[in-house]
Amino acid sequence: MAITLSSDTVSSDTVSPDIVSATLLVDPVARERRRRLQRRQVLTAAPFVLPGLLLVLLFVVWPLIKGLQMSLYDWNLPVPSRSEFVGLDNFLRAFTDPTFWVAARNTALYAIVTVPIQMILGLFLAVLLNGKLRGRTVFRALFYLPVVTSWLVVSFVFAFLFSDGAGPVNFALVDILHILPEPIPWLHETWPAQVPIMILGIWKGVGWNMVIFLAALQSIPNELHEAGVLDGANAWQRFRLITLPLLRPTFQFVSVVLIIGAFNVFLSVYLLTGGGPQGSTEVLLSYMYNQAFTNLDFGYGITVGLLLGGAVIGFGFLQRRITRGAVD
């Protein structure tokens, strides 16, 4: 690290890089000059780098390290010094805690259902909006509206739509469409509750997918499609054989962002069901929160959060390996 010279500094010294690195090793004067240059670089860069770096170290990295430590304790939030060391008990407990696995299952299910549906609908809308279309900006804005509205607001709206008895959704399904014989208490039963939670996630995310796919579609050169037309490919063939393969990096990017986002599902669950009944609709983050602030078991809550963090990081590495494998 110390000996690598950037091209900038070398050119400013107007000496060839070979000579510099050769003399650096032997010549004390050159080494001194190099040290002085570095000191100048550090002094120049410090005011730019340090505010951000300090914030990241203190409030991003340090809490993670501290979290690892706290997960080994029965943590006492009001008086941390009274925390009792319990070793790996919190981790062992998680593996035998049925509600933890329910929360993990619900989180995974949320990702498995909402991610592909969002991507397909988003791509579908992007294809519809691609090319000349009157009112495109208006459509794009309308589809993006749920993305910019806060989770708190839209969660309340969905709690209303899916409310018991004569809520709008029950009304539509029972009295208009006659699909259901009687209203469903959507927010108060384990499996029905997954429906509003997932529909909310999809509804809120589609617009973002649309914008990303639209940008990707617009970056595909028209000549490729013209060549496809000349070769006699129909629209579907052109889409499947030209467009889709070119969208591959976009699919990768979007799926990573969406899966990490899905692991983060929290406020919607907290506001729609609160994790109930009996913890059966908990997701990992809501379980973490409830353990810490309802059950007052801070150390265990932290452990749940760390396990989720481990899953996210593990997934990130896995994904990188897979995509790298695909490129090779």
Partner: protein, 295 residues
């Protein structure tokens, strides 16, 4: 499916008559699908606003109607007077504006160093930022809360700003660095010829040229702060400091079935978000890449 025909309406084909007919049919179909889709997306908002406009003595109407018969603004008045909305909104605004300023300052300083300066450890720190970018903020909600307590930053807006800015540094550095790197070296050389140093170049040349990128960051910093629920909820115990999402949730907890007033409040809370979005749409498209991680 046939979208690509529309991309190139003039593409060469035989039997122009039939093709034109197909094109017209495709265009109509496309509009029908888009309008139906937009209606589905907008419907929840329509219910929210419609309910907010309903008369005060309100029970869930049967059949559920979107637009009430005697529309009134009473609920908005109640949300403002009873639910204490103006105070919460003012708090939210102050928190968000300061968060935007701090985010812009710290992020642009940081990105400049990684885009235009040389210093030992540069690659290592940048790689380290890329790794931290991947870890979602809420996973460390509890240890961060403990760390903020250790620093005495609970029950203050300072704690919120510290969290918002520190969460944004890595990603914004990444985003802005790309933008800053594209500014031609000649401009830097010209600044030096005129006797200007690093700071002159940064403040007088680079920042003014980077307004679109900075605007994107500002928009997302604002919305991130305006929307934030968990940090505001954990940190702000003093009622005087509470922000809008907390105020709305407290009101909801106290009057759960009063959907009319709750929705008047959420409508008012959503208005700035929607207004910013409509006014600054193009920055949203630029910043969409960060939007997915939001919330």
């Amino acid at each position: 499916m046939v979208a690509l025909d529309a991309v190139k309406p003039t593409s060469r084909r035989k039997g122009g008559q039939r093709a034109t007919l197909g094109l017209v049919r495709w265009r109509i179909l496309r509009y029908v699908v888009l309008i139906v889709g937009a209606a589905i997306v907008v419907l929840p908002f329509a219910y929210m606003v419609g309910t907010a406009l309903s008369p005060a003595r309100w029970v869930m109407p049967y059949p559920p109607t979107i637009w009430p018969e005697n529309a009134t603004l009473d609920n908005f008045v109640r949300a403002i007077t009873e639910a204490g909305l103006p105070r919460y909104a003012l708090n939210s605004l102050i928190v968000a504006v300061v968060a935007v300023i701090l985010t812009l300052v710290v992020s642009s300083l940081s990105a400049f160093a990684f885009a235009r300066l040389e210093f030992p450890g540069k690659e290592i720190i940048f790689g380290f930022y890329l790794v931290t970018m991947m870890i979602p903020d809420l996973i460390a909600l509890l240890p961060k809360f403990q760390v903020l307590r250790d620093f005495g930053l609970t029950d203050s807006w300072l704690g919120l700003w510290v969290i918002y800015v520190s969460n944004a540094v890595a990603f914004n550095t990444f985003l802005l660095r790309a933008f800053f790197s594209r500014i031609p070296k000649e401009l830097e050389d010209a600044t030096r010829m005129d006797g200007g140093g690093t700071w002159t170049f940064f403040l007088r040349v680079l920042i003014p040229l980077s307004k679109p990128a900075l605007a994107t960051i500002a928009v997302f910093a604002f919305l991130g702060s305006w929307d934030d629920f968990w940090w505001a909820r954990l940190l702000l115990q003093d009622p005087e400091l509470r922000t809008l999402p907390i105020g709305i949730q407290l009101y909801f907890n106290a009057h759960a079935t009063q959907w009319t007033t709750v929705f008047a409040a959420t409508t008012l809370a959503a208005l700035p978000e929607i207004a910013i979005f409509v006014a600054l749409q193009r920055y949203f498209v630029n910043g969409a890449y960060s939007g997915g991680i939001r919330g």
